[in-house]
Symmetry: C2
Subunit: 372 residues, 2 copies
């Protein structure tokens, strides 16, 4: 029995990422593949550390790239709440792909999905989407090569593609893939077609085969399994995937959750709030200082260490040193928390400035006649 759940709408429990990979049928990113990527640039630490750990057809898309065929990137955001570090992590990686391969990016904001699955109004979701877009663009995506797709606003472009997908997906399939009951609303059932659409957009627009690479959390795989299943029949290349693990919560759980503010660091959090949240983080420390000095801590279960691992310590040597010092009892949780707080606040200070600067950029971006 699985003690965890990973679907596009629910990620709970302690996730066995190998089992998920086996269950979904995705391919591990191994050393050979990482070695191959070295050709294009220094492999991102999220690749080296197995945070982006699984894929579908990455070799194929690199073969095409080597043959001179550029791909497009596609990722997205379900704008149900403020951006937190769990969103920032894969976006940083996506930005690295954009820079390394000099490719375009479709960024889909699924306001329709959130309306259908959450108790939110389209109006509120739209405001949230704008805030999320500031974070995305604030990370430095090339505005000339990045298109923001707000589904309800850009639906004229997406809908004909979504119809083509929908025509090839039965309720049986949607039920099997997403676990829908008969009580699911008919918008939820249709929705995956809208998420598939941008994967085929470049090929449709250009009238020729343009491969698409989707970096995202592995919880989104069900959507893209559906998209891949119908692709060939529609005359589009199957979208290729590069999947990351979930960004951990400060409670040490596998996924940072928007619904629990205390274990989640938002991009707009103040230094004081960050200090408070990190201060309460779950660590691998012992009950007493003496015990920890003697026995050492356990970085494997420590949220503070995971944050360094996933995002705040890019240098592998320094990360290992931190791990060793913890295990040897040379550094205590309080000190570690203070350092992480400093790192997060330094990051957020810069990011908050950049997301403010992004306002002008986001306001000027257009797609399908849509402008914020």
């Amino acid at each position: 029995m699985a003690k965890f759940t990973v679907t596009p709408w629910e990620v709970t429990g302690n996730i066995d990422y190998d089992e998920i990979q086996r269950k979904f049928g995705t391919t591990p990113i191994d050393d050979t593949l990482i070695q191959r990527i070295t050709k294009y640039g220094d492999p991102h630490f999220m690749l080296r550390r197995g945070i982006f750990y699984s894929h579908r057809d990455l070799n194929w898309i690199l073969d095409r790239y080597d043959a001179g065929k550029k791909f497009v990137l596609y990722t997205g955001r379900g704008p149900s709440g403020g951006t937190h570090l769990g969103h920032i992590m894969p976006w940083m990686f996506a930005k690295w792909i954009q820079d390394t391969f000099d490719v375009s990016m479709y960024f889909q904001m699924t306001d329709d999905e959130k309306f259908l699955f959450k108790d939110l109004t389209l109006h509120d979701i739209r405001n949230t989407a704008y805030e999320n877009a500031l974070d995305f663009i604030g990370l430095g995506f090339d505005p000339e090569k990045t298109k923001i797709i707000l589904n309800t606003e850009c639906v004229k472009t997406l809908y004909p593609l979504a119809l083509k997908v929908a025509k090839k997906v039965t309720f049986s399939t949607a039920k099997a893939v997403f676990g829908f009951e008969n009580s699911a609303n008919i918008g939820q059932i249709f929705y995956t077609s809208m998420q598939a659409a941008p994967a085929f957009l470049a090929s449709e627009t250009e009238g020729k085969e343009i491969p698409c690479l989707i970096p995202c959390g592995i919880d989104q795989d069900p959507h893209f399994r559906v998209a891949r299943d119908v692709a060939t029949g529609l005359g589009y290349p199957k979208p290729c995937m590069i999947y990351c693990k979930m960004f951990p919560g400060l409670n040490g759980e596998d996924k940072m959750s928007s619904s629990d503010e205390n274990i989640t660091i938002y991009t707009v959090d103040t230094p004081k709030i960050v200090k408070k949240k990190v201060g309460r983080a779950f660590t691998g420390g012992c009950v007493s200082v003496d015990e920890q000095r003697h026995k050492g801590g356990n970085p494997n279960v420590c949220a503070v260490f995971k944050y360094n691992y996933c995002m705040f310590e890019h240098d592998d040597c320094k990360l290992e040193e931190l791990s060793n010092r913890c295990k040897n009892g040379e550094i205590l949780c309080g000190e570690c928390k203070a350092i992480l707080t400093q790192k997060i606040n330094a990051f957020l200070e810069k990011h908050q400035a950049k997301r403010e600067e992004a306002r002008e950029v986001v306001d000027s971006m257009t797609f399908d006649g849509f402008k914020w």
Copy 2:
């Protein structure tokens, strides 16, 4: 056991319209209601003859009208083939409502529906939709007060409304109302939301309650039952309905079908084709001339008589005279067919000229930024 089927996608067998009315729970249009309508203008012959025979909340919408609240009209067309007389009939009636009550009309062309339910391309469906639009506008709808909504092109306006509807409709409901199996595609399941949307469009756009009256075939009731069920919860008035029976085929069956060209008269048919088709029509005549002179014909089962009844003989006295002459064996089928052929061809000659003139009008019409 019902020996007929009436759903938005299938109308077969000899329809018991009273049973359909009972099953769907719609209200008969009785003499009192027709009397009430007399106040606004001479009741259309399709009302007098029980062709438009059933309704939902027509008294309510007239109450509002009497209190100075105008309604909007909404009808539509699934553009899967050329326009035939079966489409023209209810549109003539809709035009009469527009003129009589001086109201606006939304005309929805459901290219998405036809794509999802038929083996057709969006490209071909769009071309058909344009041809259908010529027929609609050619009937004389006021271009200032009529909006043509081609779903894939006007989806930006429809989609947020469709999402609101979809959120309130479960698969169970869709299954119960439309008879979907698990093999239905997820676009088909969602589609009813798109057909509901225009019913709420005026209220949404104006930001206040605008009643909506939908004249259409009773086969469309399942869609509007769904729309009515969700309306109040969404803060919109329930759409009101006025339903007609199906236009008969030349084979005497209850519905003219696009799929059998021989029993169907298209608006672009030549006089020669019409003559041929009517010549082969099923009548209530006897085997021999002698027998018919003696026993008389049966207009009740005769396609030729039905065509006069539904569309080509507006004068009740002349219609009765025709019926009597048939029953008395005073007129034979050949003569009747020749007269009907003449009437149809006279109508089509004028209509074909008007649909050509409509080209300029249709080309100049816009909705949601869409222009053909």
